[in-house]
């Protein structure tokens, strides 16, 4: 299978310095957050890569970097073999790139314009990219898109407030699919939904992937959902990937201590009564990340080397993991 998306050493730094006057008067230094720091992965055509991690680990920043909502500070994103950083220099290339990748956002209440009819919301990308000019054809196409996500053709005359959360998220999906993209970036698409509605949306996403050969980057903090939808899983901690593996492998044999901790921490409906051993500590402040391996203050296997030297991603029997303890064979 061919690789559709490849990311090499991607990084994004945000300047969160105090205002200039404060820096001068109070002698405060400039401050930077390394939201994403040296990420490398690739996604093959028709497959789903899921990124998981807790809030503040940089998952959403990766999503925004991939679709071009943020400029990377360092590194490259290749789409279908072409460097998107180079493509962006030409407006025409950028447009065609935008057509081929789309994004689904977390909150279906905030991502749809409340003053627009569904027809305009779903039809906008088609019109914007000059794919369909004729109104009658546009209506047909929008109707078809709405039906493909389980809504009715007549729904195009309604406004977003007339729909429930799950239906709104389907409208977002229909809009994202309008330009027949190959790659969809889904940033927590079901986190704002109730479980029964989440099941509807996840089923639709899987059906569409099968029918249209879509490639997904699926971002979520819910490991059970990730296990359900993904082929490969990347685990992020403080802006870095700590483990990247095939889904079955990752859930059967998690290597990195953070992955193990996450898997232990999820309350599961089939484990009623079983006691979990909650890991102590919290995610550190990204402004002052710990030295060495960022996870070492919470890690039960940390030693002196972990506190000093940042572990590199190494491949071990098909799994990429960044951990000294695993690489040294200590765990």
């Amino acid at each position: 299978m061919t690789t559709l998306v490849e990311v090499k050493d991607l990084a994004k730094t945000f300047d969160v310095s105090p205002p200039w006057l404060n820096r001068v008067l109070e002698r405060k230094p400039r401050q930077f957050v390394h939201a994403v720091d040296g990420l490398s992965f690739s996604i093959r055509k028709g497959r789903t890569l899921a990124l998981v991690g807790e809030s503040g680990c940089g998952k959403s920043t990766v999503a925004r970097l991939l679709v071009g909502l943020y400029e990377p500070t360092r590194g490259q994103v290749f789409f279908d073999g072409q460097d998107t950083g180079v493509l962006k220099s030409s407006a025409a290339n950028l447009r065609s790139l935008r057509r081929r990748m789309q994004m689904i956002f977390q909150d279906p209440y905030a991502s749809l314009n409340p003053r627009w009819k569904v027809l305009d919301i779903v039809g906008e990308p088609l019109r914007e990219h000059g794919l369909i000019g004729d109104v009658a054809v546009l209506r047909d196409k929008v109707g078809e898109l709405l039906r493909s996500v389980g809504l009715a053709t007549a729904d195009m005359e309604k406004f977003p407030h007339q729909f429930s959360g799950g239906q709104r998220q389907r409208i977002s999906i229909a809009r994202a699919l309008a330009t027949q993209p190959e790659f969809l970036v889904c940033d927590e698409p079901t986190s704002a939904l109730d479980v029964s509605v989440q099941a509807q949306v996840l089923n639709i996403m899987k059906d569409l992937q099968r029918q249209q050969g879509l490639t997904y980057l699926f971002i979520s903090h819910n490991l059970a959902v990730v296990r359900h939808v993904s082929d490969e899983v990347g685990v992020m901690y403080l802006g870095r990937l700590v483990e990247l593996a095939d889904k079955a492998e990752l859930f059967a044999r998690p290597r990195h201590p953070y992955t193990r901790m996450l898997l232990d921490a999820i309350p599961d409906i089939h484990m009623s009564g079983s006691a979990r051993t909650p890991v102590q500590g919290e995610v550190p402040n990204p402004l002052q990340p710990p030295s060495g391996c960022a996870f070492h203050p919470r890690c039960p296997h940390a030693n002196a080397r972990c506190a000093e030297e940042r572990p590199a991603m190494r491949e071990l029997s098909g799994v990429r993991v960044a951990c000294h303890a695993v690489q040294e064979g200590r765990i």
Partner: protein, 325 residues
């Protein structure tokens, strides 16, 4: 059998509006024994939080209790005057809410908020209240409690704030704790810590807990019994294990099937088509009938009561007809 600590009998909560009265809770009955943890689950708008609010006497006007009774240790509390209810709230019923930031006052130190609560409800001196506050913070696992006491809520992280809120709820040693989505705003690794903490402290203090959440995983791990709510009614209630593994109500079956679990290999999740009805359009008969795959003629006209369905009790005519189990 011991007398239940909390009894809710045929509780009905209404919201009078200009366009007619909305029935938000309809015929809710359950009880909680001392030291028991009862989970209340359901999707948004099912009325879980409202049940909690009715019990602690904090219904937002124009919402009001239209019928039914709430008894705490045999004493009616739903019709008490405001001042008397205020004395019970905090003293005998503690509350924990979803967002730890909005349940703490940002302008007061943690210590002041804790000692204020203790002094309001317990006959102790100021010094004693302070040492009690320190002990509470230590119990909830906050390191360097003595120094932290003089800090403000913004100096605490989300998980730490929720610990403070739990300490506040436990400050006057209440008999009952109403916890409304206590872990929803937290990350999974912190969530596990908070759940374990809540469980341990309630056991130590012998408090009964009503845990409101939409997360079945949290329920499975924490509760003794669970009530599943749908459109302002209880659809099924029973021991946690039985509700999860042998649900009788078709809604519970659908709800359990729609949750992706860590050990399942299904290609597709079970889905319940449609969405929960709005309060102004609750169908006649069983509220779940338009979405139910096993709907019968009777379901459209007659509302089912909670009926014995083996280990659980379910409000479904299939149970009455003996078709389930």
């Amino acid at each position: 059998m011991t007398t239940p600590l909390l009894e809710v009998k045929k509780l009905r909560v209404e919201f009078p509006t200009r366009r007619g009265t909305l029935l938000a809770l309809d015929d809710i009955s359950f009880d909680i024994a001392p030291g028991e943890i009862l989970g209340v689950v359901g999707e948004s708008g099912a009325g879980k939080s409202l049940t909690g609010a009715a019990i602690i006497g904090l219904l937002e006007p124009p919402g009001r209790i239209a019928a039914g009774e709430i008894l705490l240790a045999g004493q009616r509390i739903d019709n008490l005057p405001y001042e008397q209810m205020r004395a019970i709230r905090g003293r005998r019923i503690g509350a924990i809410f979803q967002d730890p930031l909005t349940s703490l006052n940002p302008l007061y130190t943690i210590g002041r908020q804790l000692t204020e609560t203790i002094l309001t409800h317990l006959p102790v001196s100021a010094d004693e209240a302070r040492s009690r506050a320190i002990r509470l913070l230590q119990e909830t696992g906050i390191p360097a409690a003595e120094q932290r006491l003089d800090q403000y809520p913004h100096q605490f992280s989300g998980g730490m704030r929720q610990r403070v809120v739990i300490a506040l709820a436990l400050a006057a040693e209440p008999q009952l704790i109403v916890a409304d989505e206590p872990t929803t705003a937290l990350d999974v690794s912190i969530q596990a810590q908070i759940i374990a903490l809540l469980k341990r402290l309630c056991k130590q203090h012998g408090a009964a807990v009503m845990l409101v959440t939409h997360d079945m995983g949290v329920i499975a791990e924490t509760c003794d019994r669970v009530a599943v709510m749908y459109a302002g009614r209880i659809g099924e209630i029973g021991p946690v294990h039985d509700v999860i593994h042998k649900p009788a109500h078709p809604y519970t079956v659908g709800l359990m099937g729609s949750i992706p679990a860590m050990d399942d290999t299904r290609e597709r999740l079970l889905q319940i088509d449609g969405a929960m009805p709005r309060l102004n359009a609750i169908p006649s008969g069983c509220a779940f009938n338009p979405r139910c795959t096993k709907v019968m003629e009777r379901c459209r006209n007659e509302r089912p009561e909670l009926l014995d369905a083996g280990p659980t009790r379910a409000a479904c005519w299939l149970v009455g007809a003996g078709e389930v189990r």
